[in-house]
Symmetry: none
Subunit: 245 residues, 2 copies
């Protein structure tokens, strides 16, 4: 597996170069841009990064906007870099979009430390590095374009479905609690009920499960949450035999 990919969007050339050089020296792969559209184009072409560092005030597109677009594709962690210390902005950003917020001027060491903390909490990010993820012979997923290909057929995922699938995939083999799924897919909102989650899981299943009564990929853990399972070969060890109840 390759290096960790950082998407950087910062219009001040000096700061941009500083971050780029420092992080590159710390053996990250840094893709640096000075405005939102180019960065989003890059994602469309080359796939998702493991983490995004976004300045807030940019020439044509606000950092929040970029963040929304990225989050509509997948659950990519975001750190905002900003010159303003305005509490409203910070709170709004944290509530709706970001995993962290760092205020200029800052030291690069601190930025690095914060990046690593965030990444440490986001397991299995290898999925984000390949433009197209091949789950097995039947299923492959392209998060940058919100598409799944299953048994030759191709479906478009809605933004919500996309995030849910991404969160599940990132923790493949572990049960992801309903609460966690809701928090990640509907960050900031507080009036989302489990019923809503169920409906979305249902439609996600309809797209990638051939037999929805015996789901192959997405498993329900009653009372807890859902789990993405990668069946036979690699993946997790679910003990050879399972006679089940």
């Amino acid at each position: 597996m390759g290096k960790t990919k950082i998407l950087l969007v910062e219009d001040d050339p000096n700061i941009n170069k500083l971050i780029h050089d420092y992080m590159t020296a710390r053996s990250f792969d840094v893709y640096a841009f000075s405005d939102g559209p180019e960065a989003l184009d890059h994602i469309t072409m080359r796939g998702l990064p493991h983490i995004a560092l976004l300045d807030l005030t940019l020439p044509t597109m606000h950092g929040f906007e970029i963040s929304s677009r990225i989050k509509a594709m997948a659950d990519v962690p975001i750190i905002f870099i900003t010159a303003t210390n305005d509490t409203d902005t910070v709170v709004q950003g944290l509530k709706k979009y970001a995993e962290d917020f760092i205020v200029k001027p800052f030291e690069l060491r601190e930025l690095e430390a914060r990046i690593r903390v965030v990444l440490a909490r986001m397991p299995s990010l290898d999925y984000a590095s390949e433009p197209i993820i091949h789950i097995d012979d039947h299923l492959s997923i392209d998060f940058a374009h919100n598409r799944v290909v299953i048994g030759g057929k191709s479906f478009t995922l809605t933004p919500t479905e996309s995030i849910l699938l991404h969160v599940l995939l990132r923790r493949a083999g572990q049960v992801v609690e309903n609460r966690t799924l809701i928090v990640r897919a509907w960050a900031g909102k507080d009036d989302i009920y489990e019923d809503t989650l169920r409906v979305h899981m249902h439609r996600l299943r309809r797209k990638l499960e051939s037999d929805s009564h015996h789901p192959h990929y997405i498993r329900t853990e009653r009372g807890v949450g859902y789990m993405f399972t990668v069946r036979p070969a690699e993946g997790i060890t679910v003990d050879a035999d399972s006679a089940d109840d």
Copy 2:
């Protein structure tokens, strides 16, 4: 589910009270202390919080020290509150101990936002990430997937059974009182009778005892409670220490 529990350690009475009152008003359960030892005692007595807010400079115990002790018990997320903006301290803290760092003076809204972000990105501090526990040659337990494998057969545990087994296992070799089991499995509810507990223990036994008349693993201590016993020599080592009520 109950409220989110915050452990607060801050020796400045004003700030302490401010945070306590604000977070309580935002419907968190706040356990506030002015020094490390009392806070750690509280954990030993009353169980782990969902998140800890720690000041760095405290009378007898440094915030880093408290953090180490807590992290040694469980993966509880930590946010440091500090007056210093020293990068070395921040970096060191983030690297080794904390999920986030907030510098005084700060607005309570921002603290709340950061708490929520940290909680949202934690993989849930339940027993969801423990590895498979091998009790002996016949029995192994996988709490992450709520399953037991006994003599080649695999059974799924219901949530209640899972909790009960988990509590018993953590104190393997000791008798766990009925009342304790009830508090653990039905935290918050107050109309649970021992009869109910017995029925659940019965069904737990049916799943992992081959001869329910002569139970091998779960022993009844008449008038007191139940005890999980690991028979011969090389049983498992279930952490000697445990912090519960």
